[in-house]
């Protein structure tokens, strides 16, 4: 069974966002880039667990980005992956990203495609379902548990106000979140071994853009906090009613 894990490079959570070029782009100077947490802790680790338990035979990793994303895809490879692919293109649009990944995946044929529930840079959470549509596969989002029995995946997933257990034949696309796997740290042996594992670079066929980012904006600074005396909770309730209008 072959698994493809989609890896996205994102600024570390603690990054302070600074804009440049008249607010048309984000300044990357001094920004630490990491593997998108949902891709790493849940999608990739679950794939590794499935391989360790003898269910999966091969794990491939894929990312869309120019050469500067290589350290991140190599780190993912060090965690555990048999080969990695970098689609040599820049994309901030999920439609474009999904097209590039689907184009590659269609040629290989995977039993399972895993991605994180969303990336913490653009917070779209749409790539998985787009991939499923492009590859004509089923899709299950917000998975909290994945197990494989013969040719069927049994998936726990979040629904509004609860959880649901679904079964679906492979191949299938799943977006992963908390619960799917336990976090782990790459070991030195993995890091060394990853150096020799292949990183393929693919030039994608161009697609017509359907959306563009015109500009960015930083949120206005908070108007300032109003402190209320711990002895006067009636005042807090009044403020929440008359000023904030939330109760």
């Amino acid at each position: 069974m072959k698994i493809l894990v989609c890896i996205s490079q994102v600024p570390d959570t603690s990054t302070k966002i600074v804009l440049k070029n008249n607010n048309t782009s984000v300044n990357s100077d001094g920004v630490t880039y990491v593997i998108n947490p949902y891709d790493e802790w849940y999608a990739l680790i679950r794939a590794i667990e499935l391989k360790e338990s003898g269910i999966a035979t091969e794990i491939h990793l894929i990312t869309v980005g120019k050469a500067d994303v290589e350290p991140v895809i190599r780190k993912a490879l060090a965690l555990g992956g048999d080969e990695a692919v970098r689609i040599d293109a820049e994309s901030n649009d999920p439609y474009e990203t999904a097209h590039y990944i689907a184009e590659y995946a269609a040629g290989v044929g995977y039993d399972l495609i895993l991605c994180g529930k969303e990336s913490i840079d653009y917070n779209n959470g749409t790539t998985g379902a787009m991939l499923a549509e492009l590859l004509d596969l089923d899709y299950i989002g917000f998975a909290t548990g994945i197990s494989i029995e013969a040719n069927t995946a049994v998936i726990n997933r979040e629904i509004e106000g609860g959880e649901e257990t679904d079964a679906c034949n492979l191949p299938l696309v799943i977006s992963c979140q908390k619960g799917v796997a336990e976090a782990r740290i790459p070991n030195m042996r993995g890091i060394m071994a990853a150096r020799t594992r292949p990183l393929k670079i693919i030039t994608p066929s161009g697609i017509t853009a359907v959306a563009e980012i015109l500009s960015y904006e930083l949120p206005p600074a908070k108007a300032g906090i109003k402190l209320v005396s711990p002895d006067d909770m009636d005042e807090l309730v009044q403020l929440l009613h008359t000023e904030a209008k939330v109760i």
Partner: protein, 325 residues
Amino acid sequence: MSVIVLVEHTGGIIKKQSFEAVQYAAQIAGKMGTTVTAVALGSVAEAEMENLGQYGAQKVLHVADSRLDELHSRAYAGALIAAAQKENSKVIVTLHDIKGRAVAPRVAVKLKAGLVAGALSFPDTEKGFVIKKAVFSGKAFAYINILSDVKVIMLMPNTFPAKKEEGKAIVEQLDVSFSEKDFGVKVKSVNKVTGEVPLADAELVVSGGRGLKGPENWGILEDLAKELGAATACSRPVADSHWRPHHEHVGQTGGTVRPNLYIAVGISGAIQHLAGVNGSKTIVVINKDPEAPFFKAANYGVVGDALEILPRLTAAVKKFKEHHQ
């Protein structure tokens, strides 16, 4: 030409956030000089659908197939596309929630449409079709211009509160032929957390952190939540220590909430926690440490011991409610 909007329901009762989406679509339609057609899938009562007229829908296309009571992303997308084709729509609106995120991306790909996920504004048509959304987990906003002929918008719930007016929508049945493949996902079991407000939908959230010391103190936090009709949440270490169930954990690695009011009790306000809650309209922080970083993100703050303050706040809410019945 009408604007299409997918409405969601739970057991036949239309979700409040779908009213927001219908009204949002109605405003766009108004600007474009057209009307709104809502699409309802599965078992929904006629009267429920007619009531969508109160939020600006002229028409509801109802696909009555009861298999659609469960989420099947292929079938949902097929139904939405059929509706869009029937109405010759250029704009399709869903919610940015679990269902919307399974369906809208499929529709966008199929129709070669640009999509904005988590839309926070009406489209600005001066410079194209430009919509604002939050990026970097709320640390910035981006303005996305959709270039394609057909546009897909996933509206962030709880962004534009819906106001009810007079009106009644016409309900029409829409026949969509599905294939077996459309129902490839088989639902084995459903486990709903009953009696609680689902966190993602909650307008009011009371959340606790390590400052509450232990699970034995959660009773006073639940009392406040009950009095307010709020959902409860927690920080990550609280869930990791099994003081609270994992579905309550909010933040970068947990759930995201966007309530009108988020009350954070004994939570330091680490950046990873803020990433899941900074879309909240009003934030109240209760912390004994005046230097806690959460105070920087808060609208109202109370410096003091949560164990003493919580019962007082609950009593004050109770008193307030008695006077405002």
